[in-house]
């Protein structure tokens, strides 16, 4: 690992895609036009705009993408507003990768995978989904259940339609919270939709979304007969150093930045409910 980890590198924003009214996806490369560093799916990077702030963002692109990294970022606070306001060609600083990532080469290998995402929660999972799609031979069936407030709030909608849904062995189930003109798909909240779909119990679940969705979906999965050891999620708490030293992103004795952000629910069960 980079020993000067608190000193960031400079990255250039080469493309900005507007996903939804409040989510944009930024493409970032180093000054040399190459990827700034390699990562595993689920890992994060600290992006910053000097003078504005620094924040932890999950890397949305798959490691199999050899040209650049992508970050899907929702406009939420000070830093993200600034990021949303910038233009192509703007430089930002970047350091990483941080965190443990999903166990794509170990525990998840050979498994049937079920991805459950809500809203911007698709961002960290997209990295895994595309990784798994690119290494199709190593994994079983893939099912993706993704929900958002409305059709306009579905992140990566075009990619879902044009690529994921066209893949063999990939089943995509989309849902939105309320009826909307021009939407003939499913309407309803993610937890209920998961129960309706009644996925096969042999699947390993990767889940990310707002806390309230996670809470009810987990309860629903358990009702269906899933074990906590089958379900992974990825967390987010306030971070400053990203290397387990500044002391704020802990859940019990685990640091989300270093020991996480990916946790299996049976691991979280042994930790205080402070997230």
């Amino acid at each position: 690992m980079n020993t000067e980890t608190l000193i960031p590198k400079v990255g250039v924003v080469t493309d900005i895609r507007i996903d939804t009214p409040d989510v944009k996806t930024f493409r970032v490369v180093g000054l040399d036009g190459k990827k700034v560093f390699e990562h595993i799916p689920g890992q994060c990077a600290m992006l910053s705009v000097p003078g504005v702030g620094e924040g932890m963002f999950s890397i949305t692109s798959s490691p199999t993408n050899t040209e650049f990294m992508e970050f899907s970022i929702k406009k939420c606070g000070c830093l993200t507003s600034w990021l949303h306001a910038m233009e192509v060609g703007q430089q930002i600083t970047i350091r990483g990768p941080y965190g443990n990532g999903f166990p794509v080469e170990t525990a998840l290998k050979g498994k049937d995978l079920l991805f459950i995402a809500g809203g911007i929660g698709l961002a960290p999972l997209r990295s895994v989904i595309n990784y798994v799609r690119d290494k199709r031979e190593n994994y079983g069936k893939i099912q993706i259940i993704y929900g958002s407030r409305s059709k306009d709030d579905l992140v990566d909608y075009q990619e879902i339609l044009d690529e994921w849904m066209q893949d063999e062995g990939v089943e995509v189930n989309l849902t939105i919270d309320r009826e909307q003109e021009g939407w003939d798909g499913h309407v309803g909240f993610v937890p209920n939709y998961v129960k309706e779909l009644n996925p096969d119990l042999s699947k390993t679940v990767l889940m990310c979304g707002p806390p309230i969705m996670i809470k009810f979906t987990l309860a629903g999965l358990k009702e269906l007969g899933f074990q906590e050891t089958q379900v992974y999620t990825t967390m987010e708490l306030r971070m400053k150093c990203a290397i387990g030293k500044c002391g704020r992103c802990n859940i019990g004795n685990k640091y989300v930045c270093k020991d996480g952000p990916v946790f299996r629910f049976d691991e979280l069960d042994e930790l205080p409910n402070e997230y």
Partner: protein, 340 residues
């Protein structure tokens, strides 16, 4: 063991300060603090400094990196210059132990090079305690205040200073000052240690132990109903964290100087409401949770991650300084009472 008459203490300081910076605990406006030695400066009579010695390796504010921004481009500048060698003289046993606790945070992978750099340049000369205060409880954490850790150790009797080098850094220092000393046996030191140990046994907190909290009790302690009443009067200030020798949490901030951006880190306190505040919410919304975090960290989380070693050295600073006199001993005793 080396011996020096106290009359020659100034000469010793002068010799130490010759090739490097020397810091000693001295009085500043009635408060003991580490000051850079200059001829004429006297050591404080106080047992310990108000601020701990962690400042030397983990200063309250420290520049991390500078940025120059022009148009859309950013230039990254490492602001560090060559660190100077320094000696800290008169560190107490509790503070000496705190360095090894801080090491377990900053020197584990990925190493914090800012801290490491300072650590490498510093030589710690510790001073055995003679007159502990009622707030002292370092023995509860297996620390012997009559024989502290450190690169070199000193004992001070009424008329003499005894010196013993422990590490290579201590030996290097010894070489520079040995000519001032004479060889001596350790009889006087032994006698003083025995005297001090008799006082230690009479300390009000000498039976205090955090042992019951070190076991597999994380969730039980976390869910204790006592946190509410313990934290009821907490003002949410940062006094305990800032005087604590082992508190190591920090914030990273940017300052716009008008000519560029300086990114610096500064001490932060888990007692502050914005410690875990994010744009979309806060994982520790009330003072109960923030208060709990601090004590859980020292008494439960840190031992869980570090083979049972507590994040407290029993220096007693928080006992003396908390505006509402709530402290780690009261908290630990209350929680231990519940575990029984």
């Amino acid at each position: 063991m080396l011996k020096l008459s106290l009359k020659k203490l100034d000469e010793l300081f002068a010799a130490m300060a010759q090739s490097q910076a020397l810091y000693i605990p001295a009085d500043n406006g009635g408060q003991a603090q580490y000051l850079r030695w200059a001829p004429g400066m006297k050591m404080t009579a106080a047992l310990n400094t108000v601020r701990s010695a962690k400042d030397f390796f983990f200063p309250q504010t420290e520049g991390l990196v500078n940025f120059k921004m022009t148009g859309k481009t950013i230039e990254v500048i490492d602001p560090r210059t060559e660190a100077e060698d320094f000696v800290v003289f008169g560190v107490r046993a509790c503070d000496a132990r705190s360095f090894s606790i801080l090491d377990k945070v900053f020197l584990v992978d990925p190493v914090d090079t800012y801290y490491q750099n300072r650590r490498e340049h510093g030589t710690i000369v510790t001073m055995a305690c003679r007159q502990p205060e009622e707030t002292c409880f370092c023995t509860s954490f297996g620390i012997d205040p009559t024989h502290p850790e450190g690169d070199a150790v000193c004992w001070m009797t009424d008329d003499a200073l005894y010196f013993e080098a422990v590490t290579p850094k201590g030996e290097a220092l010894k070489e520079k000052i040995a000519s001032l000393f004479e060889e001596s046996d350790d009889a006087a030191v032994k006698a003083q240690q025995a005297e001090t140990k008799a006082v230690l046994d009479r300390l009000p907190l000498h039976t205090f132990t955090a042992e019951p909290l070190g076991g597999d009790v994380l969730m039980k302690v976390f869910d204790s109903p006592s946190w509410k009443s313990l934290s009821e009067a907490c003002l949410g200030c940062g006094t305990c964290t800032f005087v604590c020798p082992t508190c190591q949490c920090y914030d990273v901030r940017d300052f716009d100087t008008g000519n560029g951006i300086q990114r610096f880190r500064c001490w932060d306190s888990c007692m502050y409401s914005d410690f875990t505040l994010m744009a979309h919410g806060n994982s520790r919304n009330s003072q109960v949770e923030r208060f709990r975090q601090r004590f859980m960290h020292k008494l439960v989380y840190f031992p869980a991650n570090n083979d049972g070693e507590y994040g407290c050295v029993g220096c007693g600073r928080c006992l003396a300084k908390c505006p509402i006199s709530m402290n780690i001993v009261k908290v630990a005793k209350c929680l231990e009472g519940e575990l029984k």
